[in-house]
């Protein structure tokens, strides 16, 4: 795997897939798959107003890089991953994964692996503000924002 097969970033800025696509594109890469995770207007029966993302930033960057490097090595692909933090409105992309491979099969697999693994082990959390309250989303569960459990 060459040095710059991966590009990962945690950012406070709005996400744009164009520079990620430019980063992964190469003449020998016939397939580029882009995944964009966007803020959804509904969650667990609640009407979502906005989300606020928080991260353990240095650990999140380190884990994100490790995941991207695993994917790049396993599927011989180039891959770029960015996650946004702070307040995001409905429809805003919160995470982008762009994978380029020789063929589409590997590109889809690498992209899928990166987003699924990110959601298991990169320390990023979201506080969901909905009509009537707010919760921290922790895995499959909701946790109160203030006060004891």
């Amino acid at each position: 795997m060459d040095e710059d097969a991966v590009w990962v970033a945690i950012t406070d800025e709005p996400l744009d897939p164009a520079p990620l696509v430019r980063f992964v594109e190469r003449p020998e890469m016939g397939a580029v798959v882009t995944f964009s995770g966007n803020v959804r207007s509904e969650n667990r029966g609640r009407t979502v107003l906005y989300l606020e993302y928080d991260a353990y930033r240095p650990m999140a960057e380190k884990q994100l890089r490790a995941i991207a490097e695993e994917a790049a090595a396993r599927w011989s692909c180039r891959i770029a991953v960015q996650h946004r933090l702070g307040r995001l409105e409905i429809g805003d992309p919160s995470v982008l994964v762009v994978a380029a491979c020789g063929h589409r099969g590997e590109a889809f697999e690498a992209c899928r692996y990166a987003i699924d693994t990110l959601k298991e082990r990169v320390p990023i959390w979201k506080r969901e503000v909905f009509e009537g309250g707010q919760v921290w989303i922790e895995g499959e569960g909701d946790a109160p924002v203030a006060g004891a459990k």
Partner: protein, 85 residues
């Protein structure tokens, strides 16, 4: 010895703290570090039951020892994720 504890998400919003230093005796583990944090910030009593510990930016185990100057955190299940212990 002293270790630095980083708090995020729910832990930080409930306690009002983002970072603290805790004093531990030689041979202390990540479990001891969490117990010390809960003693100082009782609102975080849920940490040992729910979180996975991390030491110097890598996931670790509750029985792993800590060393002077380590950076420690306690990671609740991440936003889209599942709990893996």
């Amino acid at each position: 010895m002293r270790v630095r504890v980083e708090l995020f998400g729910r832990a930080s919003s409930q306690s009002g703290e983002r970072e603290l230093e805790v004093e531990l005796s030689e041979g202390a583990t990540l479990r001891d570090a969490a117990a010390e944090v809960v003693k100082r910030l009782p609102v975080l009593e849920w940490i040992p039951a729910i979180c996975r510990p991390a030491r110097n930016l890598e996931y670790a185990h509750w029985n792993d020892p800590v060393s002077d100057g380590d950076e420690v955190s306690f990671i609740p299940p991440v936003s889209g994720g599942i709990i893996r212990r």
